[in-house]
Symmetry: none
DNA sequence: GATGAATGAGATTTCATTCAT
DNA sequence: CATGAATGAAATCTCATTCAT
């Protein structure tokens, strides 16, 4: 009859683990408190004992997920590397973190469907992201000082770009596969993609700058702005 | 006694419209047949009469959404323009189509959570996407012939890139706003972003090519491949 | 398989009948929606279909009960009789109405435990009681004109008195039986009590008045007011 | 480590106090063991330790309540006064006891809904009420000997009357207020009512008796018996 | 004596779906 | 085409009670 754990911290963690899976797989509404409880080998009231309500549990799952994700993005440790490597690592860690935590993607999608209701209310979750932009700015500035990156790059744009390129490929894998008629799930395909998006991001940051030694591409931006219907962008996020 | 509409096609369309909203806002599981019926000012039975089941309705909603979205991407009409303009337009149309159909994003997310269950089964939905890669290939080839684009670019990578950059910004607006501490919803911010991603895509296609006149950048890709842990990517999607 | 009634009015009434019994017997919290449904031979969702919630059902039960009770008090029809008979009838009808509707007592007790939350919010319930005081005043005035009742009697006091004497005997039968060691439930006991309380009420209204022909008892009230610790009462309800 | 109270008697009393409040406010079924425990700042287990079950606690609450109530009715001490004063005091003490212990009313209502299940089983509770009728009989007899009260009055009727008049006003305050459109909760209203019911009770006991000196009112009872449908009451409780 | 963790049974409520008209 | 009435299954949540320390 192996006595049931009686270890609240472990019990809590067990619930969170299984709840994460369930919420990611089924969405908030599709998730069943019952089935989480069964997987935990607990009676369902325990979930209420620990988290008060289904929504309370969902929020706890979100928080845990953000923490894990951010810790795996390792943006702080990355500061130690030289700028080019740091940026490459940031892309790579972001991609890998999402690849290794596929539930994170589903949970974030859910949060966005809810217009960020939960994340916005949680001071803790916001704080997790605070250092991110600073780290990128730090990398960009050092890169500019080293002469490898252009000046005047908005770190937010960099993060938006790399986040998009990492996230969407994994998030929308299935519809993209149908649209493109390719397999995006193979390890090979993923490596190719990671390589591609790293190139894209680096290209953006170095273009026009004396990349290593050569000044390049000054003309490009200018040409782009000639596009008819879109006003000259300020390259400053709002 | 003449019942209200008596126009089956219109009734069907009305149901689809409201169902789209509901499914997008609440997800498949969160959506309530009841509340769709109420919004339609119809009795629930009608939904079953026209679409057999909640899932049948969901599939119909998906199909309609894909059609609308693809038609607004206008990739076929774009072929008429010169390659550079065509590519710029494709980015722009893709972004605008998603911006104008926010439900599309939620529905596609839902589909991806379900691992593309519905889209994969529907020949009709797959056909919608068939011309897309061809169009991009066509543009790229003409651009290469014109000397404005590099050779050897995989059209799938181009679409993946532009799709990511268009979609993620809109899809994950709320969590990104919290992460970055900025407002992504303003018209200005969106224009800036569109401008930025257009630049990124163009940069990718032109870099290394005799942009206007000079062959450039051959070295870059090489440098990227120096990244330690990631194997040399083949730049061919699977 | 006798097709289930399909007569909404009847269904509604059936639910109310059984709900009345259940709520009276078990109280609001003790009552089980399930068991009401079973007695109605309906699935429990029907109760929600008709009354939205357990509380909604409770309120509907209360309203129906008040209507029935008030109609059996017949205070309006009683106006036709001569004042003495009218008052006697009012006592009798009130007692009989409560005797015949024992659920009414339990429901009213419940309402009072809730501090009248429901009755106070329902315009309809309040309106039911509006004519009551007027009727009593009408009877008292005619009685005074006829010379059978005293002047200056507050109709509210009359109703409070007769209501107390009718209600408490039935409401608290069981604890009173234990306290007094008697059986209050027999028909004989009830008749004795009804006779007694009728006498009390009549005595109050006639005392000091020229009952029929003799002026009586002027001294009494005075004596009573000599009671030490209680201030002279104003004989006007607040 | 010394635990908070370590005074079992005090702990027991604390539990009873809070349980009384909870049971009175919510009824037996509505009361929550949890919420009693919280109010006591004790763990639920303690309630079970001291009282075995929710029902055990309820019974203990009832017993305590009856004791308190009876002690405040002070019917035994009242014997010392002269009959008129004694009766007046009994009314007053009964009213005041109920006024000061509003939970008592709710608990007794609960008991009556349960058909006196608990009180009937408890020898102790029954014993509490034993002296009551004797006291009233004692008062009535002394009053008759003194020539202030009528002969042949059933003490049970006296108690039933005064109990009704004291209890109902307080018990059904909220529904009565709505029915009559008056405020019964003010101190003034209560004093008026107490004065009124004292008058009623005294009137009943003295009427027909040689009040002070005159024999009166023999005719009255007779008239009352003329009421059609009700058999001549025996004025003897069963 | 006292506690936090755990439970099983059952409560109210919801919901996709069907029946009868 | 269209509806209101009805259902069965299941969802979330609650609660008196007990276990292990």
């Amino acid at each position: 009859m192996a006595s049931r754990s009686r270890d609240p911290a472990r019990t809590r963690e067990k619930i969170l683990t299984h709840a994460t899976t369930e919420f990611a797989k089924k969405g908030f509404d599709g998730a069943r408190v019952d089935s989480i409880a069964v997987r935990c080998r607990l009676s369902k009231n325990m979930l209420y004992y620990y988290f008060k309500s289904k929504e309370g549990l969902f929020v706890a799952v979100l928080e845990r997920m953000y923490e894990k994700l951010r810790s795996q993005q390792k943006d702080l440790t990355v500061r130690a590397s030289d700028p080019v490597t740091a940026l490459e690592q940031l892309v790579q860690h972001t991609f890998t973190a999402l690849l290794d935590n596929p539930e994170a993607i589903r949970l974030m999608n859910e949060e966005n469907r809810h217009k960020g209701r939960h994340i916005r209310q949680s001071r803790r979750m916001r704080d997790l992201y605070n250092p991110l932009v600073d780290t990128i700015r730090f990398i960009l500035e050092r890169g500019r000082d080293d002469g490898v990156f252009r000046a005047g790059i908005d770190p937010a744009f960099v993060y938006l770009s790399l986040s998009s390129l990492c996230y969407h490929y994994l998030s929308n894998q299935y519809t993209l596969e149908v649209a493109l008629g390719v397999d995006l799930g193979s390890e090979q395909a993923r490596e190719n993609w990671l390589s591609h998006i790293t190139e894209l991001v680096m290209m953006f940051c170095t273009s026009g700058a004396p990349a290593r030694d050569l000044p390049l591409l000054e003309a490009k931006p200018g040409r782009i702005t000639k596009r008819a219907s879109v006003k000259k962008p300020a390259r400053q996020s709002a």
